[in-house]
């Protein structure tokens, strides 16, 4: 037996040398656990994230908007599947991952516990929510675990259409009637702060951050990513002629970044704990889909078994 200590050193040396860790390589238990938690949370977020947008597919204002939104939501399902597949390489199976989601044991991004009350919300999600997700996902393309990094590369290729789709919706509203412009502003008012919360607690509070950086699972801190998002988004808001709902937002010459006001962490933790506007509804929708799909899964297995038996019999005769 090789002592754990030297295995750990070898592992860290590989990470430091930017050599990707692959499924069959030795890895510390805590690295495996952290990845399972993070990748599955990420996968669940993609899946649950279809719900607020799915709410508007049947009510999209034109065929152009409808095909765009349908394709986007379908991509999110795909993202969930790439990530479940990456997660399974760590030795956990799909059934268990679903179980964790459906029993509320696993978390998903809290942003999806907010409702989509107007069509402008679909634009705001594409612009702000996908925009924030992209910041995080671009970083994760270089994460140390091979299957996760490869899944992220596929995902990032698809994400830019999502954000552009959302921005175009908002741009159209910004050139519309007074009512449409008010709808746009209202959506931005509601989605801005929850989008900033997507990056997670501030670096001072974040418990897993330091170790994740050492293992190169993450390469930028929550606050760094959040700042990057604010800087990029403020400029885009000008084109939409909307006001971001933060009176303290202003350019800081010295830092070369935008300053922004304090985040309401109480709201954040409250939604994480299950008390957001839609937590119960989202989980109930997932459980219902899973339960009502049970007969389809069973029928598919029965059909596959029957086909295999028929083939075997045909081969015997021949």
């Amino acid at each position: 037996m090789v002592p754990i200590k030297s295995l750990e050193e070898k592992f860290q040396a590989a990470v430091d040398a930017e050599i990707k860790i692959e499924p069959k390589d030795w890895m510390p238990d805590a690295y495996r656990k952290t990845l399972i938690r993070q990748i599955s949370q990420h996968a669940h977020s993609e899946i649950v994230g279809m719900l607020p947008e799915g709410n508007w597919i049947s009510r999209a204002p034109s065929l152009r908007r409808k095909v765009g939104l349908l394709a986007k939501v379908q991509d999110e399902a795909g993202h969930g599947l790439y990530l479940y597949s990456a997660c399974e390489t760590l030795g956990i199976d799909r059934e268990e991952l679903f179980e964790q989601l459906n029993t509320g044991k696993a978390k998903y991004s809290s942003i999806f516990n907010y409702p989509t009350t107007t069509w402008a919300d679909i634009g705001a999600i594409g612009w702000l929510v996908d925009g924030a997700a992209i910041m995080n996902q671009v970083m994760l393309c270089r994460t140390s675990y091979g299957p996760y990094a490869r899944a992220m590369v596929r995902i990032c290729k698809e994400e830019s259409f999502h954000q552009r789709q959302g921005f175009e919706i908002l741009l159209t509203l910004s050139k519309g009637s007074e009512e449409q412009r008010a709808m746009l502003q209202d959506a931005v008012d509601r989605w801005w702060w929850p989008s900033l919360m997507m990056f997670g607690p501030s670096d001072k509070e974040s418990t897993h951050s330091a170790q994740s950086m050492k293992w190169k699972i993450k390469r930028k801190s929550n606050d760094e990513l959040r700042q990057q998002f604010v800087d990029a988004t403020v400029e885009q808001a000008k084109i939409l002629n909307v006001t971001l709902p933060d009176p303290e937002l202003k350019w800081n010459e010295e830092r070369g970044h935008y300053d922004f006001g304090p985040i309401d962490w109480e709201e954040f933790w409250n939604v994480v704990k299950g008390n957001g506007p839609c937590n119960k509804e989202r989980l109930a929708a997932r459980v219902k889909a899973h339960d009502e799909g049970a007969w389809v899964r069973d029928a598919a297995v029965a059909f596959a078994e029957k086909q295999a038996k028929r083939r075997a019999e045909a081969n015997k005769v021949a």
């Binding site: 069959k24 394709a71 790439y82 399974e88």
Partner: protein
């Protein structure tokens, strides 16, 4: 889901190239695996041909054996063209 096996998916992105591993998925049988692979991995014409292999049929070398497996190749420099000295006048060989 319990009984849906795991399949590894390989795509040929265009004629003339090897199939390349892109990920995995669950499906009841090979036909469904190919259909799902089409929806999951080729939504933007990423492939012209799909292979699916049930994951349990894939046997992989172990990273622990990598020295024993690959070291023997490392000291065989004479397998590479640069090992052989030729005069400069010979341009393309």
């Amino acid at each position: 889901m319990n009984n849906w096996p795991l399949w590894e998916v390989f795509l040929r992105s265009r004629q003339g190239l090897h199939h390349k591993h892109v990920g995995s998925l669950h499906a009841a049988d090979e036909k469904m695996a190919i259909e799902n692979a089409r929806d999951v991995y080729t939504r933007r014409s990423e492939g012209v041909s799909i292979w699916v292999v049930e994951s349990k049929h894939i046997h992989a070398s172990s990273p622990d054996e990598s020295e024993a497996l690959y070291d023997p190749a490392n000291d065989k420099v004479y397998r590479h063209p640069t090992f052989y000295d030729l005069p400069d006048e010979i341009k393309h060989m």
